[in-house]
Subunit: 302 residues, 2 copies
Amino acid sequence: MNARQLKHFLTVAETLHFGRAAELLGMTQPPLSQSIMSLEQELGAPLFLRSRRHVELTPFGAQWAPHVASALADLDTLPDIAARLIEGRAGSLSLSFVSTADYSVLPVLVHRFRQLYPDVNLSLTEATSDKQTAALSDGVGHAGIIIPPNRERLPREFSYRRLIREPLVAAVPESWISEKRLNPVDGQLRAEDVIASPLIVFPRDAAPLFHDLVTEYYASRGATADVVQHAIQMQTIISLVSAGMGIALVPQSLRHLARTGVRYIDLAGAAPELETGLIWRRDDNSSTLGNLLELVEEMELD
Amino acid sequence: MNARQLKHFLTVAETLHFGRAAELLGMTQPPLSQSIMSLEQELGAPLFLRSRRHVELTPFGAQWAPHVASALADLDTLPDIAARLIEGRAGSLSLSFVSTADYSVLPVLVHRFRQLYPDVNLSLTEATSDKQTAALSDGVGHAGIIIPPNRERLPREFSYRRLIREPLVAAVPESWISEKRLNPVDGQLRAEDVIASPLIVFPRDAAPLFHDLVTEYYASRGATADVVQHAIQMQTIISLVSAGMGIALVPQSLRHLARTGVRYIDLAGAAPELETGLIWRRDDNSSTLGNLLELVEEMELD
DNA sequence: ATTTTTTCATACTCAGTGCATATCAATAAC
DNA sequence: GTTATTGATATGCACTGAGTATGAAAAAAT
């Protein structure tokens, strides 16, 4: 029993005419008759009742046909599924990201990807940069949106592409401005005001590179931060700012997270810049990943 | 692309070793390599990454494999499904029945059939004898439990087998006995008592043969029935008896329908007998029907 | 009733597919 | 450097599956 014979059976079952079925199958009638007969012999029961001028399905044949049709239909879809997998229009893409990306590149990237590849199963996981690289190194996941370490520190197995490079801005309690505790000049906050204010930051282990960027801002000015509170979620940090506990230095894109009682103010002078980019295993040639990279090239997120 | 190549692909995907896969497939390694290569060429993408000593799936191959496995598994079940259909252990059986059978042969028949053939989709339809024969004649349904007409009247296209032949008994209001309105002798009701009592019957068009059997009981004694009420459901008839509206002549098996206030009493002398049997299309060789007939032969329902 | 037509089965031939054997090539292990 | 392992290549052969020619039986037409 092979797929060819089953196809023969189905065609005869549809036409109830060996001659016409053979024509539909692009073959002549005798081998079709033989094919059916050999199938019947293998099954041990007739599929058709043939009188010399009439062909009809046996009860068995009639009940078996839908099962056969379903199995063959599944088989027929395999080349199509293959084509879609090869082109990356089906399959899966597992993307991890740092929480700050949630307010900048991630939404637009995900939206565009889903738009172009609706049948790809896109799974998103929030994780810190180092956890993402560790997972990728273990072969888990396809790509990660990270805050990158120095170029030399990135292992050879990875490729990297910058997505966005944005200055840090200060998130400050609105009341501190109206009460003149902070005094922006030309809409910019001077370094001495920043240094003098209590600070809310990420814990270092959750985002070391981001944390280092903030502390470096203080160190280069001969100061140390007066850290009043650590918080893991960006939303929590902004809530604490809103409550007047202190200020925070956050990526510019966090302006998308509007909250009453909080103002985002540019830093005066050269603001530290936070880079966010995409890493993936250099040797990973998944088509879904390829499509993501292609999309990233086209999007000009900066 | 054919099922053979797909099987080859799956086996190599499982073993990740062309030599061992070939062994599992009962063939040698070179044609297996060629088979995979031709499949890859047809798909236009590699399924495996071969270094000289290592074989691994490409991302595409890994994602395609489960689809292939599922399709082939479906294909593999076809012979088994066929065998079950041929033996009548799967498929469907459409059985119609007259309502009186509900209290005699039907329950035990259905129970036994379900027990022996749990995977057969048994569909039951209540209908009058003439509607059943009409449906069968139109090719609808497999068999029917009917009250048969005279043998000569049964068309040649049908086969028939008697299932049960049971005397009619009188269903009478219990109060009529305690009040001595009816006087059974040796637990039997005499014809004059029956004739003298108001009668509840089926409407003739719903069950002509049963109706005729009852009226014949009166006619042969030179009497006509004093019909006080018609009712279609057996349960309704017995309810009306219980309410003291009259008596009814019903198949003996209705004793299974116990109801307070109703007594079933044998008729004195030769009671009319109601035959119930199974008909089916003589040329119907459905295996499920065959199994039903076999079961009927074994059961000795009488 | 006879002839014609229709339609599935049988007989036989041929080509291509798919497998086998023999061998090569490259890499890893010793 | 040598050997063993393993996938690729080359070549030959057998069998499957399709073709052509024809038969046989029954329905349709005359």
